[in-house]
Every structure is written in structure tokens, then in C-alpha cells.
Amino acid sequence: MSYLIGAYGFAIVLLAGYVIYLVRQARSVAARMDEVEEGGPAAG
Amino acid sequence: MRAYLRVAGAVARKDLRTELRSREMLPALGQFVVLALLIANFGFDVGTGGSRIAPGVLWLTITFAGLLAFGRTFAAERDQASLEALLLTPASRAAIFAGKALAAAAVLAACEVVLVPALGVFFGTPVLSLPLAAALVMVTIGMAGLGCLFAAIAAQTRARDLLLPVLSLPLWVPFVVVGGRAVQVALGGGGELNGALALLLDFDILFVVVASLAAKFVLDD
């Protein structure tokens, strides 16, 4: 049983971690996009 | 077709001539081979049972010697800025690639000529037999095909020495697996040889064709 928990535990942690990575990256890039668009090309 | 052979021949001749004259790589490879065997001899310390691990040592040494040989061919072009002059001709990229791969394979083969007898000395294995030579030649060609393709990619990026092994080693696995089996049989282990050699030939044909098709996209901007 412990193997089962271990295997699924690892899988869920990795997949969830990847989803969080994607969301966080998307947010940070979107934020920088707004920054660039507001400040005009000079803010680049 | 004649132009293809002329270009491939010219590139191979140019590389080998450069190698024979500057004698950069061959001594380095020769030294590397003997050193690797020495380390393996002490590292594995199997005393008399050497012949059992000889195929493994053979493949490990050939794999890393291959990385040195293939990496060097394109790195040299890049350092002398001659790669661009080479590509600014109408010569077909597949032919240029074939020439480079042929020359690199020849250098690796020369290195194997040192390696196999040294293996016999260090591990007491029967030295050269036709099946062993056939297996070595076919694996060398297959590894050269893929190795030079990835060397051409690596040479055009920043961290080239890092990228070549990372790309080539996984793709060489089939050659080492089947080549290893063929060598084991050739060195007297039991088992059926023709199957292994036939398989190696199939791999060679497949990967050399794929590599020369891909050369067009790797050697052009």
C-alpha cells in the first residue's frame, strides 16, 4: 500500500506543481505585458 | 549524383588531410583510449574474468571517443570561421554532411584499431575477428551519422560541448545495445551473430538516411 501512496503522491505533486508553474508564469508575463503597454515602448 | 560524391569526397578528404597534418585529434584519441582501458582495468579489477566485461569497456570507450571525434569536426569549422564559406556554395548540404560524417567515422575507426588490440592486452580477449570488425564498422557508421548531425547543431549554439553528449547518447542506445550483443558473440559468447549484424545494418541505413535528410535543415540558416 505504501508503494501505491508513494507513487500517486509523487504523480500528483509533480502534476500539480507543473500546473502552478504554468499559472504563475502566465500571470507574471501578463503583468509585464500590461506594464509595457501602459508605459509605452519606452518602458521596455 | 556525381556532384554529390565529388562534394562528399572533397569534404572527407579535406577533414582527414587536416587531421593527418595537424595531428590534433588522433593522438588525443589514442591517449584517451589507452587511459580508459587502464582505468577500466583497475576500476573493475576483475582479475582473470576480464573477458566478461571487455564488451562493456569497449563500448564505453568508443562512445566517449566518438563524442570527442564528432564534436571536434564541426567545432574546428566553427572556430576557423570556415563553416560559413563552406555553406556559401551551392554544394548540397547532405553531401557536405556525408563527407563530415565519413571523415569522423574514419577517425573513430582509426581509434578502434588502437582500442581492440589494447583490449586484448588488458583483458585477454581474442583480438580481431571478422564479425567483431563488421560490428564495429556498422556501429561506427551509425553513431557517426547521428553524432555529426548533433555536432552540427551543437557547434552552432553557445554551450556546444554540453549539448553534444546530451543529444547523442540517448540516440546511440540502440547501437550500443545491439552492437554490444554482436561483440559479445564475436568475442566468443554464445548466441546468434547474423541477427545482430543484420539489425545493425537496418539501423545504419535508417539513421544515415534520416541524418542526411535532416542535414539540410541543420546546416542552413
Binding site: - | 572533397a10 588531410r17 587536416t18 570561421a81 564559406a85 556554395t89 554544394a91
Partner: protein, 207 residues
């Protein structure tokens, strides 16, 4: 047929625009000098004209062919000498040229003939590594004209050339369509009919 037709030609490295937008026309047989101080885009322009690099924007037709799609065809008709000659050091001068004969699909005797044209016959069997800078430039000139190109693109070929070397340069470019990047305005006016100064963006006609 026009040798060069460039409309709105632009080149960029990362975020910096290093050339253009530039319009340029060169008729067959004309010789153009490209002037301008360092960093004005001379080498960038010549690399585009020799299909050694792809433009970031604009249209470029060379010898009636599209510079982006018909590159292999063009590379048989353009002779290019870049800012770095890129010879194979271990090969002799003659072997270097014979190698490029094979690549260009030209018969090998042409190598020796071109070697004599640039006055390097005596150094035929000397490894390229041992050639002086001027001789390496001449070997580069030989390599650029080996396949009788319709368009010559030479990036500061006069660098390192002695007086005799300059005469060789004049002989080599005579009667050809040429784009020559140089700092030497006197040489430019002597060899070329038109000049383009990338620093002041002015197209000036000498005669």
C-alpha cells in the same frame, strides 16, 4: 537584368535595428562602393547581399532571383569575401582553392589559374596558416572569383593589401558587377562608379 534590387531592406540584432530600411538598385556591370565608419552597417549589408544572412524585413532580389528562397542557386553565382577569410590552415593555398572547386562544381585546373591571377602562384604549396594577412586576402579574392560569379561582394578586401595587392584587386574586379565595402575613399572612387555612405545615407555618383 538588375544585379541587386532591395526595397525597404532592414536587419536587426535582438532589439537593435542595425540597417535600413534601405532601398538599393544596382544594374549589371555597375560597381558600387559602400562607405561609412565602423558600426554603420557595411558588413551587415554585404552579408545580406551575399546570402550569408537573412534580412529582418524588406524585399531583396539578387540577379533576378529571390534572396530568401533561391539561395542555393544564388550561391553558385555570387562571389563573397567576408571580413574573416576563413581558410583551412592545414591545407595549402592550392588545396584550399581546389577544395572550393569541388564545392562549386568547377574543374580543378581553375584553382591554379586563379591562384596565378592573384599573384600567389609562388605560395601555392604553402599552408594557409603560414600566409601573411595580405596573402590570405588575395587567397580570399581568388576563392571569391573561382566560379566566375556574376556578382562580387567584397568586405574590405583592401585591408592588408600592399600596392601590388591593390593592383591585383583592380584586375580582379575589372568588368564585373561589384559591391565593395571599404574605408579607403580614394580606392572607392578609383574602382567604383557609385558609392553609398551608410553613415550619411547618401547615394553619390562619382562620374
Amino acid at each position: 537584368m538588375r544585379a541587386i534590387e532591395a526595397v525597404g531592406l532592414r536587419q536587426r540584432y535582438g532589439t537593435r535595428t542595425v540597417l535600413g530600411p534601405l532601398d538599393l538598385v544596382l544594374e549589371e556591370g555597375e560597381r558600387l562602393a559602400v562607405l561609412g565608419e565602423n558600426g554603420s552597417g557595411k558588413t551587415t549589408l554585404l552579408r545580406l547581399l551575399a546570402t550569408a544572412a537573412r534580412p529582418a524585413g524588406g524585399e531583396l532580389r539578387l540577379l533576378g532571383l529571390d534572396a530568401s528562397t533561391e539561395r542555393t542557386e544564388l550561391r553558385g553565382r555570387i562571389g563573397y569575401l567576408g571580413d574573416v577569410a576563413g581558410h583551412y590552415p592545414a591545407l595549402t593555398a592550392l588545396e584550399n582553392l581546389e577544395f572550393f572547386c569541388d564545392l562549386q562544381g568547377v574543374e580543378r585546373p581553375r584553382a591554379r589559374a586563379t591562384l596565378e591571377l592573384v599573384g600567389l602562384a609562388a605560395a601555392a604549396h604553402r599552408p594557409a596558416a603560414e600566409l601573411s594577412r595580405g596573402m590570405a586576402q588575395r587567397l580570399g579574392l581568388a576563392r571569391a572569383t573561382l566560379h566566375a560569379p556574376q556578382l562580387l561582394v567584397l568586405d574590405e578586401p583592401d585591408a592588408g593589401l600592399d600596392e601590388e595587392g591593390r593592383e591585383v584587386l583592380a584586375a580582379v574586379v575589372a568588368g564585373r558587377t561589384l559591391v565593395l565595402a571599404t574605408h579607403d575613399r580614394e580606392l572607392a572612387s578609383r574602382l567604383c562608379q557609385k558609392s553609398l555612405d551608410l553613415s550619411r545615407r547618401g547615394l553619390e555618383v562619382y562620374r
